[in-house]
């Protein structure tokens, strides 16, 4: 059974035409399911948990990257994660979305066809302190010390950005020297500062003397020091054939 999770912002009238198109396409493809709207929910985790108990096995996020991350976080919460092995997570992006592009989804109409095709991949989720991220984390490199697997430390005086990647965004994937496999248990540090630096690692720890932050999946900011590694959790994602990873 499909469960469609709509974000708050879709209530705005400017999205009604897009939503109508998506709902018509979903009906045409015979993929109908229950719709829940985040703005009506005080307890998102409880609501999703309830629907899973009632048999929902494909959760379709309808919204933007922030919506996707919110639902991912909910799925990785303690109680619900028990069911993770049986649940497919799909995404219908309403706006331009880096996560959707990573998954090979280029538009909302594309997303409906991909949902029908049901090609899926188990993707491991990365951890940053107590938070999770699916795609990548980034921080400004200046004044940040980066420890790789406890073996060596690196830093740079340049003001460029350091990316710690699990599943690269569409834009970032184009810049990487090689394709990344988000199932290989490695994170990759990528820095482009007067030349490329590209380092695979099991554990990356970032620290800074001054107050500094790292942003996870373009939505969640956490303060340094921060230790990043792969978690033992994975999600079944419905992906397009043009996804950016191996």
């Amino acid at each position: 059974m499909h469960l469609y999770i709509y974000d708050d912002f879709l209530e705005k009238s400017k999205y009604s035409k897009t939503i109508n198109k998506i709902e018509t396409r979903i009906t045409d493809l015979g993929l109908n399911g229950k719709i829940i709207r985040l703005n009506n929910l005080n307890n998102v985790e409880g609501a999703i948990w309830g629907e899973i108990k009632r048999g929902a096995r494909t959760l379709v996020v309808v919204g933007n990257d922030s919506t996707f991350n919110k639902i991912l976080k909910t799925l990785l919460a303690k109680e619900v994660s028990f069911f993770l092995g049986d649940i497919f997570l799909a995404y219908i992006p309403i706006e331009s979305s880096q996560i959707a592009l990573s998954l090979g989804i280029h538009s909302h109409s594309d997303a409906c066809n991909i949902l029908l095709a049901r090609r899926n991949e188990n993707i491991k989720v990365a951890k940053a302190n107590d938070s999770y991220f699916l795609s990548q984390a980034h921080t400004l490199l200046k004044d940040v010390l980066i420890d790789i697997d406890g073996n060596y430390k690196l830093n740079s005086d340049d003001k460029s950005t350091a990316y710690i990647i699990n599943m690269p965004s569409f834009e970032l994937a184009k810049m990487l020297p090689k394709k990344i496999d988000p199932r290989d248990n490695y994170l990759h540090l990528y820095i482009n500062s007067r030349g490329i630096s590209f380092i695979p690692a099991k554990k990356i720890t970032l620290s800074s003397v001054d107050k500094n932050y790292i942003t996870l999946d373009n939505s969640n900011k956490i303060e340094l020091p921060c230790s990043l590694s792969m978690s033992d959790k994975e999600v079944k994602l419905i992906v397009g054939k043009n996804r950016v990873f191996i």
Binding site: I148, N151, L154, P177, P200
Partner: protein, 139 residues
């Protein structure tokens, strides 16, 4: 992996680990697979695969690799299981051990130099002080 110094830079896609020119590394750099170093590194380098030390790279470390191309500066001992190629801008201050070597004119070695056999025994130990040569030496 690294056939010669010109080709090696085309192989960035094959390298597992790349340290760019603006990066300073301190510690035991035991990389996974082939490594390219274009920045500054202090500590030790070890890989079972290939190593390329770029022209602008400064390495203050003992180096151990299966094969290597050195175009930059190394202050430390260099121990290579198979072939070592020193480009014209290479400068090594330390002992060098390898199975076979290619040295371009302009390369400098300041230290002891020895070839080892396939089973790893050192032989033909020589003192090479500020060598500038265009000769190829092989086992």
């Amino acid at each position: 992996m690294f056939g010669n110094k010109d080709k090696s830079f085309e192989n960035i896609k094959d390298a597992e680990t790349v340290i760019g020119p603006s990066i300073k590394v301190k510690g035991n750099f035991h990389g996974k697979g082939s490594i390219i170093i274009d920045g500054y590194l202090e500590g030790s380098i070890k890989t079972d695969s290939s190593l390329l030390i770029g022209e602008k790279a400064k390495v203050k470390a003992n180096v151990k690799a299966k094969e290597a191309v050195i175009n930059g500066t190394v202050d430390g001992n260099v121990n290579i299981d198979k072939s070592l190629s020193l480009g014209k801008t290479a400068s090594v201050k330390g002992d060098v051990v390898c199975l076979e070597i290619s040295i371009e004119k302009g390369a400098k070695i300041n230290g002891n130099f020895a070839m080892h056999s396939e089973n790893g025994e050192e032989k033909n130990k020589k003192q090479a002080v500020a060598t500038n040569t265009d000769k190829n030496i092989s086992k």
